[in-house]
Amino acid sequence: MLTVNETAVAVDVNKAQKESIEGPWQMAWKRFRKNKLAMLGGIILLVLVFGAVFAPVISPYELDDMDYSQINKAPSASHWLGTDQLGRDYFTRMLHGSRVSLQVGVFAVLISVVLGSLVGGIAGYYGGWVDNLCMRIVEIVMSFPFLPLAITVSAVVGARLPAEYKMYITMMVIGFLSWTGLARMIRGQILSLREQEFMQAAKALGLSDKRIILKHLLPNTVAYIIVSATLGMAGAIMTESALSFLGLGVAPPTPTWGNMVQNARDFYILTNRPWLWVPPGIAIFLTVMSINLLGDGLRDALDPKTK
């Protein structure tokens, strides 16, 4: 039989063996878990995403149900966040609004990540005139004043489209204007990565350029991509809110937090019906804050050197 001491040693050995097959993702997850704020951000975001995904199930009313006997009612037991000027349940609209806001955030970031890492990867890997061309394009796009251009595009293109498609225009405008920072960063990373010996080794193994860029270089920058995508998503949600607030993003009747805050432009509503603009404001704040916390936590976890 093992003595107590021996058992302890055996357990230690077991632990050591377990630790020895710990990959980079597990290590990052460990570091991330220690970061309480980032965990809080993650949990808040999970709750919001849950609410958005299951909005039709959770929401007590139909999205466009109008009840003219219940116009502009303050929050009560039957309408948790009150009703608006058309008698629609505000809590329901909040939940559905989160769907649109998060969707815009996710897809805008998706567009910018795909574009940014492709352009950055190609520019960094090939160098020379390809790099020059890509970087000049990046600089041109970067020099567009973001908000005025976004406003112009949504105004011009958006005016010709039915209201329910305006959401997609908003996504694309944000996505196609925000990939430049990522492209620059990835190019920088790849410029230094391609000088590493494993790149030469990859070439010596007879891999094609496409495979080297997609399979060997970009995965090395994945930590940066994840962090930048997370933080970019917060930015995209803010931009969407700003555009919608100005009436140029997603248009009613599709609810988003941005166009719900728009209610506050009416002075009467601003002073007398705070339930119409405070909750969406708080929702935007919470989302952006939690995403930023999560992003910072991810950066610390994935790339401890930058701490």
């Binding site: 020895s20 010996e197 030469q200 080794a201 193994l205 007879g206 060997h216």
Partner: protein, 326 residues
């Protein structure tokens, strides 16, 4: 010879820089036979690594293999191959081991994936077959618990283990030629001996030809069948390993061999070759070694000696020796 696998003839790799043309490799010829090891020796900066990169077709931008150079693998001329043809040779028929095992593996992928990738690419294996083969390969290069290693990342391995992984990768497709660019320089001496032994072992098992780049004459003695001594981008002497150690001819080779410390030596100060390799931008007009050579004659300053065969298989490029002969 009939089983010559790789025939390099008059290889010239020049780098076109802003300051001028650097003739890193300038007219190098040698043959490699199946199942034999050719060692390319020389001090830093004499063009050894550029030679190996030229064979792999990996000379990058300002560098270029000059027309008229020929690298023949079996019956295929490598210098005129298209990129995609070359890719099917690289890693498949000719593969390479690098100097720095610590950085030669991609840090974000598991060992198993990196070996499987080559197999799936060149041998068109399925994922499962490649995975199994990776385990076998790791086993073959003497790594214990290969079945666990395939799921580990490079940073979890020591330098010696990583070099074994590199060898496993290089040998995955059973190449005919293995180019090893100072494979043991970054490793400590005991690991070095193990790696060399492993390479010798695999050579006799698979009949692979090895082209080994090194500046370590101890490694040469252990590995080589045939030796090419390079200086400033040219071959100064070539011979089989026994002849080279017993009867070195070129003053540079003599100097190299004399500078090895010996245990039974009474000397207080180690011998060295005075001076350093000339700047490749401004090579002397005559023999490149002339400024450092103790036995130089006036002719050496103005003319370049060619390689002349002294006896079968032993070639030297030095006027002093050649004239002493005749």
């Amino acid at each position: 010879m009939s089983n010559t696998i790789l025939k390099v003839k008059d290889l010239r790799t020049h780098f076109f820089t802003d300051k001028g043309v650097v003739k890193a490799v300038d007219g190098v010829s040698f043959d490699i036979q199946a199942g034999k090891t050719l060692c390319v020796v020389g001090e830093s900066g004499c063009g050894k690594s550029v030679t190996s990169m030229s064979v792999m077709g990996l000379v990058s931008k300002p560098g270029k293999i000059i027309e008229g150079s020929s690298i023949k693998y079996m019956d295929n001329e490598l210098t005129t191959m298209s990129d995609s043809e070359y890719r099917s040779v690289r890693g498949n028929e000719i593969s390479m081991i690098f100097q720095e095992p610590m950085t030669s593996l991609n840090p974000v992928f598991k060992i198993g994936f990196q070996i499987s990738e080559v197999l799936m690419l060149h041998k068109e294996m399925t994922k499962e077959e490649a995975h199994q083969k990776s385990i076998d390969l790791l086993d073959m290069v003497g790594l214990s618990r290969a079945d666990e290693l395939v799921n580990e990342y490079p940073h979890q391995l020591s330098g010696g283990m990583r070099q074994r992984v590199m060898i496993a990768m290089a040998l995955a497709c059973e190449p005919k030629v293995l180019v090893a660019d100072e494979p043991t320089t970054a490793l400590d001496v005991t690991i070095q001996a193990q790696i060399l032994e492993l390479m010798n072992d695999l050579k006799s098992k698979t009949n692979t030809a090895i082209m080994m780049i090194t500046h370590d004459l101890g490694v040469v003695a252990e590995m080589a069948d045939y030796v090419v001594v390079m200086y400033a981008g040219r071959v100064v002497e070539e011979a089989d390993v026994v002849t080279l150690y017993e009867n070195p001819q070129h003053p540079y080779t003599v100097g190299l061999i004399n500078s090895i410390p010996k245990l039974d030596d009474e000397r207080e100060v180690l011998e060295s070759i005075e001076g350093s390799v000339p700047n490749p931008l401004y090579l002397p007009e005559g023999c490149a070694f002339e400024p450092r050579c103790k036995s130089a004659i006036p002719k050496c300053k103005t003319q370049r000696p060619g390689l002349v065969e002294l006896e079968t298989g032993h070639k030297v490029s030095c006027f002093v020796i050649q004239e002493g002969q005749s």
